[in-house]
């Protein structure tokens, strides 16, 4: 296997919104490389639809404190409030900055950036739904991704496209570089560097029905987890209420923000029962649970009574065409119904990881629950956990998260690189990875231990046992299944032995990360004996602030995880019951 060595001051892994934003910040100040396993514009940020919140007050009175209040309340009080303050305060400049770089936001008649309503966002701390989400039709994420990439092109940022990072080198607790695999040739590349930012996105592929891309396999968190870095708040995984039935393709909350209504098989607007004041615009965890409850109590539609309807028929063709063109096209393409005339079958879909690599507010990675900083390693975006989303993320706050904390990751890299000297990384830094790959290539293929079979069993079982509602029994059952899958994984084999675009090989390695993510998720969920935000234990249906106002930190340990905890950083908002 050919090994090629590169030397950079800083490396960013991932070219989604978070990675690109960090690159824009860091590139002018150092020799920087952005490594990405997909072409940058293929990143899943491009799939985000609805919007990005900031208290611009373009439509009505608004201020960032209300935004912070909503975020904290939406998080079920698990978010760290100082971090939330940063998020909501810097949101305004972040949006303006994107506009200055060319992002084509939709506009109001007076020429200002248009804003729409979104789940969980209110004015005056809960009085009524707020117009806070800045948007570009229903392809806000696409525009953010394009704009950031365009900015990088104009700056001449160096990209390594279709290179997959598969290892990090940390010596004496200090980052030394990363090792990547070039998909087009099978060559190994060692990147000698002092500062590395992980912005690898989420890991929704641990579930069967998911809005996430095939590429979202938790590589960044997985790489660090295997080096002994903990993962924070892994039990909190968000299920979006409106995925297209069976496919999981997302129909943005913007559909409800524009007035869409959820109905059960009888046509009843059931959210009136669950959240009387903001109804369909309640936060995602509540709406998803409401749908799951409707379905389990026999109110679901369809032959298997396993979906509900998203009704847009009363919005009118004009609104739909102007404001929700893409998602209605998805419905036409994949369900073959006309959303202007018929309600759409939807079910909750795995969507967003609140948990991930623990970082401080400057995006520096923490190596333990006490807050020890791991020098030279940063994380941002969905891969990271700051935590601003706590137990449940509000819609639109993730696009905000990636730009606000992506920028901070870039700044932290600059600070670190200017204070340290270039390092040396030995040529055998790639040995671990080379061994892993040789191992996979040399093992003879048997169908029984194919990547796809193990992954399918993983996704099916996670869907069954660790989705919206969990109990001690289902989680223990899943722990056993995971042990068995881990054993099977030890023997995993691949059929393709080639060097050029051997995606089977890559999928085999990604499966390792998927198993890691699942193990951390299930272990953390099993230990949290309460229901909070997206984590909902039927055997512990209430929030328990006395015992669980704390973040979990999962450390890798064979087939499960060791758990430690850190107290939530509180602020002005006192925990109270979440009612909408």
């Amino acid at each position: 296997m050919k090994v090629i060595k590169h030397s950079f001051d800083g490396v960013i892994v991932g070219a989604g919104g978070a990675g690109l934003r960090a690159a824009i910040e860091a590139a002018p100040h150092m020799k920087l490389a952005v490594i990405t396993k997909l072409y940058p514009t293929r990143s899943h940020t491009g799939a985000a639809q609805g919007g990005m919140s900031a208290a611009l007050a373009n439509v009505e009175e608004d201020n960032w404190n209300w935004h912070a209040f909503d975020t904290v309340k939406g998080s079920d009080y698990l978010a760290d409030q100082p971090a939330v303050d940063i998020l909501c305060k810097e949101a305004i400049d972040a949006v303006i900055e994107l506009e200055h770089w060319g992002l084509p936001f939709s506009r109001l008649d007076n020429g200002k950036i248009a804003q729409r309503r979104f789940g969980g966002h209110t004015v005056k701390e809960g009085t009524s739904p707020a117009f806070r989400a800045c948007y570009a039709a229903d392809r806000t994420g696409h525009m953010i991704l394009q704009t950031l990439y365009q900015k990088c092109v104009s700056m001449g940022v160096t990209f390594f496209d279709e290179f997959q990072v598969l290892d990090i080198k940390i010596e004496d607790g200090i980052c030394q570089g990363v090792v990547a695999y070039e998909l087009a040739t099978g060559d190994i590349h060692i990147f000698e560097t002092r500062a590395v930012t992980f912005a690898t996105g989420g890991f929704g592929k641990i579930f069967k029905v998911s809005s996430n891309a095939h590429s979202l396999t938790g590589d960044g968190p997985g790489i660090l987890y295997q080096k002994g870095i903990p993962l924070e708040d892994m039990e909190f995984y968000q299920f979006h209420p409106t995925g297209i039935y069976r496919l999981g393709i997302l129909l943005s909350e913007a559909a409800r923000g524009e007035g869409g209504i959820l109905r059960n098989k009888d046509g009843e607007r059931f959210m009136e029962r669950y959240a009387p004041s903001i109804k369909d615009l309640a936060p995602r965890d509540m709406v998803s649970r409401a749908i799951a409850t409707e379905i389990s109590s026999g109110n679901g539609a369809g032959p298997d009574s396993d979906y509900v309807y998203l009704d847009l028929t009363h919005l009118g063709a004009e609104t739909i065409k102007k404001k929700l063109p893409d998602i209605t096209d998805f419905v036409r393409t994949y369900v073959k119904i006309e959303p202007i005339e018929e309600p759409i079958p939807v079910q909750p879909t795995a969507h967003y990881a609140m948990g991930g690599i623990p970082t401080d507010v400057n995006s520096r990675v923490l190596s333990d629950e006490k807050g020890t900083v791991l020098p030279g390693v940063y994380a941002a975006g969905e891969a990271a956990c700051v935590s601003v989303h706590g137990a449940n993320r509000l819609g639109t706050n993730s696009l905000l998260d990636i730009v606000v904390f992506g920028k901070r990751a870039g700044q932290s890299m600059v600070d670190y690189v200017t204070q340290t000297k270039p390092n040396q990384l030995s040529d055998n830094a790639s040995n671990d990875l080379t061994k892993k790959i040789t191992n996979l290539i040399e093992k003879e293929h048997t169908n029984e231990f194919s990547v796809a079979k193990i992954r399918k069993d993983l996704q099916d079982s996670m869907e069954e046992n660790a989705k919206i509602f969990r109990t001690k029994e289902t989680l223990e059952k899943q722990t056993e299944i995971l042990e068995e899958l881990r054993e099977r994984y030890e023997n995993v084999t691949i059929y393709d032995k080639g060097k050029v675009h051997n995606s089977e090989l890559v999928e085999a390695i990604e499966l390792d990360y998927l198993l890691d993510m699942s193990e951390a998720t299930v272990s953390s969920a099993l230990a949290r004996n309460e229901s909070r935000g997206a984590h909902s234990r039927q055997d512990y249906p209430h929030r328990d602030d006395t015992n669980f106002m704390k973040h979990s930190f999962a450390f890798k340990n064979d087939n499960s995880a060791n758990l430690k905890y850190r107290d939530v950083e509180l602020g002005k908002y006192e925990p109270m019951e979440r009612k909408y």
Partner: protein, 151 residues
Amino acid sequence: MAYQKIVSTGSVYKGKTGMWLYVFHRVTGVGLFGYLLLHIISTALILLGPEIYEGAEAVYKNFYFRVAEIGLMAAVLGHAINGLRIITVDLWSKGSDYQKQLNFVSLFIFLVIFIPTTYKMTTSYFDLCLQKSSSGTTIVDCLIRPIPDWK
């Protein structure tokens, strides 16, 4: 290491009308240019006097060449009308919105002009042939031989 890359050689691309019109326009354009060169030569022969000029023209006086002339007419008309369509798409800002309609209209105009023209060119060939040949010449003679006994 750089591996060899190849150029995909698959089946024919199933383009829509636009692609085939592009092919048509190119083929007729190149064909017309070729014909133009021939035509310049044969016309220039007129400098050499009536015998040579008419001798050269005589080669054309048969039914096969009439068919070719109808083909030439089709090429000129087709290229011209399609050219007008392209110009419309290029210079009228709404042109590309009505691409399908324009294709249809072009075809229609082409047929409206081409069908009567073909009719005229065919009947006039036989009329002239019979008229200018000695009596007893039949249509079949006109069809299979250079015009018999041209007067």
